[in-house]
Symmetry: C2
């Protein structure tokens, strides 16, 4: 292992070199970037310990970029990208990867869609050839639509319809977001999925799948020069989409009224209460509030020594589980969530009252600085270990870069986290823990009496 | 008055004549329709008692037809239609109407935008000339945008920001609708109104303002032949918009979880609780459920003898006001709402419990058939009196025709209402009064303790 623990801190202090087309910018011993003339950004993450590469194509387009009425089309298209292209048969992509000893998959979220293959380093050429092909030459048929629509609907059945907690989460998200499409499930509303057609998929494809909306990340046993040579061959010839729209989604209005919802489902074995607050995301160049919220969530609800768990699970013994979490990497306003799962015999009303009391106590109590230091130390360790997992690292870069952040933001993040003080955390939580921007949800079997 | 009370019933039974371009269809003594080659529908409502006409142009485009991110643009454009056109100066339209002794105005709702003038019958020619002009020749400047945007924001200040009940209603609507744009306020979210620009207004104008998306209603001292002659002169030359999109909005997903919200505002003098259920709208050819809901709302909460008022205001004396209402005329899923305003000393929690109890009691009690008959009799009387108010009648036709209904539906409505039975009402209410599709809202001053 040749990356010392001081590396991240060191490179975050270096002045950012000016970018020019196809000029490689070396950010640290591991990460380099360059950009193709057609606007495609390329990130290379080196790790020469094993002769393997992960080749990922990230599109700055997810479910929150869908038009109204076609929810699920981003994820639908992700499935359809494994169908035929001008020069490949349906299924040929994955078959070829497997025949070459690799594995491949794809995933869709609110802010991005990504495709990746893990293969021997000498197969990178082939991966790029195929990925470039399906970026622009997809050939969909009505038969593909019918077949794959069944697949995504079945996926929804498995993941959502059969899971009361997932159904509950959907309704809570839709209630939290009054205007933004983060309130619409990534997989789509069932009734809209059922009507997704060829034109819907093609419209999304033509709008968003283009080199100037893509980020190529290659991680593993490869050099920036090798990646550049292959990228010039396969991706540089692709034309940019001149009509790529500005990425501006409808934002939330003022939230004036706390919302509550109760989802009753006889399949619920373990009732719980959740509270979600609208929260700021990591903003490029201004990540401190997000770092403070991440640390606040960890202090509150992450690990056995966290404030909520100590109070509710160990002292009061009123909860079997409790947690707080915050998803900072997002393009637009995100969420800060707390959950309490009461022990049998404790009502959701009591659980919610406990949750409120613990949150208030936390805000009124000085932060345990040793606890905070321990969390920061763990995060630093995680950052260092992360450098050993290039696929994880590639994911981290992909998520951040498709969520409005820059390489500089990613590299600065550990220092921003390190610099967060007790006061920062309290101030950020005070801003976020406002009843009027919150949704409180009860998931119950329907047997328990409300209140 | 030459319209007997049997007329509506009679004509609803007549077979519908087949339509052909510009052929006038006479629906009863009062109402005639024809269609221009460019797709504009024309409705003439005759009333020769006074030498006055109301000239209305209705567009099948309202706030629910807006694109995400530009909420308020339908209403903004309504204001801008009084600015300059190729052949009129800014403000000239209304000045000309006034100079001719008339009055004019406009209004915007979820499903329509409408413009109207009330003038002496011999000025109809001039009204059509001007209305046709601004349908296609609007000339907006950046200065218009800046000026009028201030006006609509000030309108929002007056109507919404200064009215806790309106703010509360906005948040409740946004919480009720999980997917449909009925959840977005007609006037717009403030932060989106602030960024509305010239291109937003023009895009909406070009998409929706065209003869094939318009319904002309002329009511008053005029004959169908006279209207046709003028309409052929002024409106027939306008080209249809071949790119008019199909009017299909995103529909609601399954509602699985009852939602609640509480809006606290120190300006609130009179706290109250509201409950809104998602409810079916009047569907063309299938209006019975809507008629049953309308009668159900009347039985429950309209008038001193209604069930809620009797129980809550007179027997219990726990409420100073209570009501139930239902808006049936809408293109998509609409709302059924009940409200209870408790007397001082009664908490919202108690008021809500009373509301629930009264709803349950109503469902468990046979409907007072004399009460139902009285309501039907009143509605019949209103329908007859309505024929004397051509402006009101024109509004009724415009609302229905822009909400997916036909002339036949409008004429059949009284008979549908008449045919509704006690069982129909109970069945329709049972379908609608489902907790999981509801939003319960508390409007409080913030002083009262929740629960």
């Amino acid at each position: 292992m040749h990356f010392g623990r001081r590396v991240v801190g060191l490179f975050a202090l270096i002045a950012i070199p000016s970018l020019s087309i196809a000029e490689t910018v070396r950010w640290d011993d591991q990460v380099s970037t360059f950009e193709l003339d057609n606007g495609m950004e390329v990130v290379v993450i080196e790790d020469h310990r094993a002769p393997v590469v992960v080749h990922m194509m990230w599109y700055r387009a997810g479910s929150a970029d869908e038009k109204p009425g076609v929810s699920g089309v981003a994820h639908f298209l992700e499935h359809l990208l494994f169908k035929a292209t001008d020069n490949m048969e349906s299924g040929e992509f994955s078959k070829t990867v497997a025949a070459n000893g690799g594995s491949d998959n794809a995933f869709t979220s609110y802010d991005y869609t990504a495709y990746f293959q893990r293969v021997a380093a000498d197969r990178l050429d082939l991966m790029m050839q195929m990925e470039a092909e399906r970026m622009v030459n997809l050939r969909l048929s009505e038969a593909d639509i019918l077949t794959e629509r069944e697949v995504i609907i079945e996926e929804r059945n498995q993941r959502t319809e059969n899971d009361p907690s997932a159904l509950f989460g959907e309704q809570a998200s839709a209630s939290l977001y009054l205007n933004h499409r983060y309130g619409v499930p990534i997989i789509g509303w069932r009734h809209e999925m059922e009507t997704l057609g060829l034109q819907d998929a093609l419209a999304y494809y033509k709008q968003y799948y283009a080199p100037n909306n893509a980020i190529l990340i290659v991680a593993g046993d490869v050099t920036p020069d090798e990646v550049k040579e292959l990228a010039m061959r396969h991706y540089a010839p692709l034309a940019a989409n001149p009509d790529l729209p500005e990425r501006a989604r409808p934002q939330e209005p003022q939230h004036n009224a706390a919302r509550r919802l109760e989802y009753k489902d006889p399949r619920v074995a373990q009732p719980y209460v959740s509270r979600t607050y609208l929260a700021p995301e990591r903003d490029s160049g201004d990540q401190k509030a997000a770092a403070a919220l991440m640390l606040g969530a960890a202090l509150l609800g992450d690990g056995q020594t966290s404030f909520m768990k100590q109070k509710l699970e160990f002292e009061e013994k009123s909860a079997v589980y409790s947690t707080a979490y915050y998803r900072g990497t997002a393009l637009d306003d995100t969420r800060f969530t707390t959950i309490v799962v009461p022990v049998p015999g404790v009502s959701l009303s009591e659980a919610e009252a406990s949750m409120d009391r613990v949150l208030q106590e936390f805000m009124a109590t000085p932060i345990d600085l040793e606890h905070l230091d321990r969390i920061k130390r763990n995060l630093r360790a995680q950052d260092i270990f992360a450098k050993d997992n290039v696929q994880g690292l590639a994911n981290r870069y992909g998520r951040a870069l498709t969520s409005g952040l820059t390489i500089k933001d990613i590299l600065e993040w550990p220092d921003v986290v390190e610099s967060v003080t007790e006061e920062d955390i309290k101030a950020a939580l005070k801003d976020v823990l406002q009843e009027r921007t919150s949704v409180t949800g009860w998931l119950t079997s329907g047997v328990e009496v409300s209140q």
